[in-house]
Amino acid sequence: MVPPVSEVEVARRSYRRSRQRRSTWVAVASTLVFAAVLVVGTVSAPGWQRTQESFLDPGVARRALPLVLEGLWLNLRVLVVAAVCVLALGLVVALLRTLRGPVWAPVRLLMTLYTDVFRGMPLIVLLYIIGFGVPGLRLQGVPTDKVVLGATAIILIYSAYVAEVFRAGIESVHPSQRAAARALGLTHRQTTRLVVLPQAVRNVTPPLLNDLVALQKDVGLISVLGAIDAVRQAQILSATTANFTPYIVAAVLFVLLAVPTARLADWATARARRRQQAGGLL
């Protein structure tokens, strides 16, 4: 398949290869130097000895790991449920905001109010309001479980954000696409469902994945209500061992959890950019 290449091209390729090798070496060397400076700088700090003992105690870490992991399992379950609910609720709110016609005016107003309130409210405050306020009402049938209440607060706040992301995505679809769909005889609803939404969702996948990264760590906030999650476990352990290492263990676990999602978000962003450039005109 590959046609024989000219000598000029062979020379060009070998030059590019040597440049490539050189760049790799430079990158590795500079990373090593940078890391060395960082390590030496930290270790030679006057308080390093004490800090190491109270934050990086290997024995404490080993003992904390299984318990913190157990807590993380709760975080993970909350995360999955919250992510699914947030996507569904966010989409519904976004769609309700785009409804036209006078009958829907109160619904539109309500949804606008919802996004304004919950985007503006600090998550920690809502956690307290729902986590401690709702059980105080002593209403029949309303859950009093800390995990459920915490997850509810997180879902309410995140759905407001995600609704706005979806709405931006819906508005980013070129109006001609809607016109083309209506011209084919599709109804307003069919147009939204079959033409506008698929494109909108595709456009907003990268920002949605970024929100997922944020959500992953914010599920750790249910600990303020007393739910025994990874953060809460670390808190208990650090109190009993008089050592901060369990917090570091929890932090490392949360970061490890976020890395794959962050990479996925990068990949989706790059793919979206490529596609936008490829299909520029039509």
Binding site: A180, G185, G279, L282
Partner: protein, 256 residues
């Protein structure tokens, strides 16, 4: 006002005194137009003269300010008329942004037959492939719009409009977003469709095409149809000074 008595030769499209403004800007100031069955009518006129607006009003994508539009004798500007039902009888191809980028060529073409006209998938796809075969694109049925050339995309859009067997085909400058060498293949398809008996109303800047393929040429200027008639008359021996001026500019731009 009642419907005009349906003559023996009722036009597919009849437009009377069509008025449309955007805000304070009047775009159409009383347009009268008939498109008879199996005829090709082209709209010519300067950029901004309202060609697209006229086509959009006919397809009910814009609400008219005054006047009436009849499709097969039915007054479609009556607010009680179901606009979706009217659009099902009209095929439209715009200048750009026609195809849905998230759907394959095949799905683009079968969307309306399946979702609007209730044709089942197998039959819709069979018909779509037959249509694609006619334009030599059957091999690209699974491709996505961004993998097509501009000409291929526009021909696909025309085929998509035809897939629902419309009564009337509206074409809005379907070649003006294309490179010159791609214009020919699209116009060849339009010509073929016209020879197949389709009734067509098209806005175009391609005077050569209007001259050879149109039955009627309409010159739109200042919001009215200043002149209409067979191409030999309007394009070769126009009655109005404005038409002559417009054609001189077109000739100077090398488009006739």
């Amino acid at each position: 006002m009642t419907d005009p008595t349906p003559a023996v030769e009722q036009p597919v499209l009849r437009v009377r005194n069509l008025v449309k403004s955007y805000g304070d800007v009047p775009v159409l100031r009383g347009v009268d137009l008939d498109v008879d069955e199996h005829r090709v009518v082209t709209l010519i006129g300067a950029s901004g003269s309202g060609k697209s607006t006229l086509l959009r009003c006919v397809d009910l994508l814009e609400q008219v300010d005054d006047g009436q539009v009849w499709l097969d004798g039915q007054d479609v500007t009556d607010p009680r008329v179901d606009a979706d039902a009217v659009r099902r009888r009209i095929g439209v191809v715009f200048q750009a942004y026609n195809l849905f980028p998230h759907l394959s060529v095949l799905d683009n073409i079968t969307l309306a037959p399946r979702r609007v006209h209730g044709v089942d998938r197998a039959e819709a796809e069979e018909r779509a492939v037959a249509l694609l075969d006619r334009i030599g694109l059957a091999g690209r049925a699974r491709a996505y719009p961004d993998q097509l050339s501009g000409g291929q995309a526009q021909r696909t859009a025309i085929v998509r409009a035809l897939a629902v067997q419309p009564r009337l085909l509206l074409l809005d400058e379907v070649t003006s977003a294309l490179d010159p060498e791609l214009v020919g293949e699209v116009l060849a398809l339009v010509r073929e469709v016209a020879e197949g008996g389709m009734t067509i109303l098209m806005a175009t800047h391609e005077m050569g095409f209007a001259r050879s393929a149109a039955d009627v040429v309409c010159f739109l200027e200042g919001g009215v149809l200043l002149e209409q008639g067979p191409p030999e008359q309007v394009l070769v021996d126009p009655q109005h000074e404005r038409t002559r001026q417009f054609l001189r500019r077109v000739v100077a731009a090398g488009r006739l």
